[in-house]
């Protein structure tokens, strides 16, 4: 019989549950993110976001990024990619009844100091630069991945879109942008069409960017 193809996202989940720290903080966010609190709400989103931030704060990147940035073959749109999409428990942490406009969401992020500073970090550290070999202005994939994962647990929580290529976005779109359509499109494309971020995620998934696995020594 044919051997089942390796599912990197499943392997990362297995590795997490065999590590006491990762196992503990994984179930610490899955519990609040999957517990219904009332007939109206599927979960307590505030508690879910807080526990997600704690997971990425406390668990070494080897395990937390292993699950968040696991690589899936292009052909796989189910077992592997769906598992990767489910890492943050999107039904609670990501989806809302209505999709807000991205600029409105950005404005609400800026009223919260954690969200404001993490969004600023993301724009600095994942700035694309087509002329650089890495695709990034600051040629440091680890900093870009750290800034991206830092957004998880804020109102800007991003997730993978159901798309054949790696594309991520916060839960918002650019309908009802009025005169700010161009500005809104620029904002969303920084997530969905960002070569720097895409290369950083791919390099981690393929294990080609070894630096990410260890903390960078100060230069």
């Amino acid at each position: 019989p044919a051997v089942a193809r390796d599912n990197n996202c499943l392997n990362a989940a297995k590795a997490c549950n065999l590590n006491d720290t990762c196992k503990k903080y994984r179930s610490s966010y899955i519990s609040p993110c999957t517990s219904r609190v009332s007939t109206a709400e599927v979960c307590n989103k505030r508690k879910c976001h807080k526990a997600l931030r704690q997971f990425f704060d406390k668990v070494p990147p080897k395990h937390s990024y292993g699950m968040l940035f696991c690589s899936c073959p292009l052909s796989d749109q189910t077992a592997c990619s769906e598992r990767r999409r489910q890492t943050i428990v999107p039904a609670c942490s990501y989806e809302e009844k209505q999709k807000p406009n991205c600029l409105e969401l950005q404005a609400s992020c800026k009223t919260n100091y954690i969200c404001r500073s993490r969004l600023a970090d993301f724009f600095v550290n994942c700035q694309p630069e087509p002329r650089s070999l890495s695709g990034c202005l600051k040629e440091n994939y680890a900093d870009c991945l750290l800034a991206y994962s830092g957004l998880i647990g804020t109102v800007m929580t991003p997730n993978y879109l159901r798309s054949p290529k790696i594309s991520v976005s916060p839960f918002c779109d650019c309908s009802n942008s009025g005169n700010n359509k161009d500005e809104c499109d620029k904002f969303t494309e920084f997530f969905t069409e960002n070569t720097c971020l895409r290369n950083a995620i791919q390099a981690f998934g393929n294990g080609t960017d070894v630096g990410v696995w260890q903390p960078m020594s100060p230069v």
Binding site: K24, S27, S31, C33, T34, Q86, V89
Partner: protein, 102 residues
């Protein structure tokens, strides 16, 4: 990691598939299951000795009260996993953290 409340009753661990637990979940995820095992003879009190003698001498009719057991006195952290239908589950009090003769 190993707690010695009485010599012999020890925390042991085994690497399993979640399906090995027989709780009815369908998933490919895995876990470390920790359990308490070993004799508790040294921790026995007069109470246990009396029960032993009374059962042996058939003074308790058909009653057989339990004697000192090697049991978890604290449980491990919860375990979460994603099943094959993309639903999360969380198991509580499924694995031992500390053992004792109780």
């Amino acid at each position: 990691r190993i707690s010695v409340h009485s010599r012999g009753c020890l925390l042991k661990e085994v690497h399993l598939n979640v399906t090995d637990l027989g709780l009815g979940y369908q998933t490919k995820e895995e876990l470390i299951f920790r359990y308490c095992s070993g004799p508790c003879v040294e921790a026995e009190t007069n109470y246990d000795k009396i029960l032993n003698n009374l059962t042996h001498n058939k003074k308790l009719d058909k009653d057989t009260p339990s004697r000192t057991c090697c049991r978890p006195i604290a449980f491990d952290d919860d375990l979460s996993f994603l099943d094959d239908n993309v639903v999360y589950h969380t198991l509580k009090k499924h694995s031992a953290r500390k053992c004792g003769c109780v």
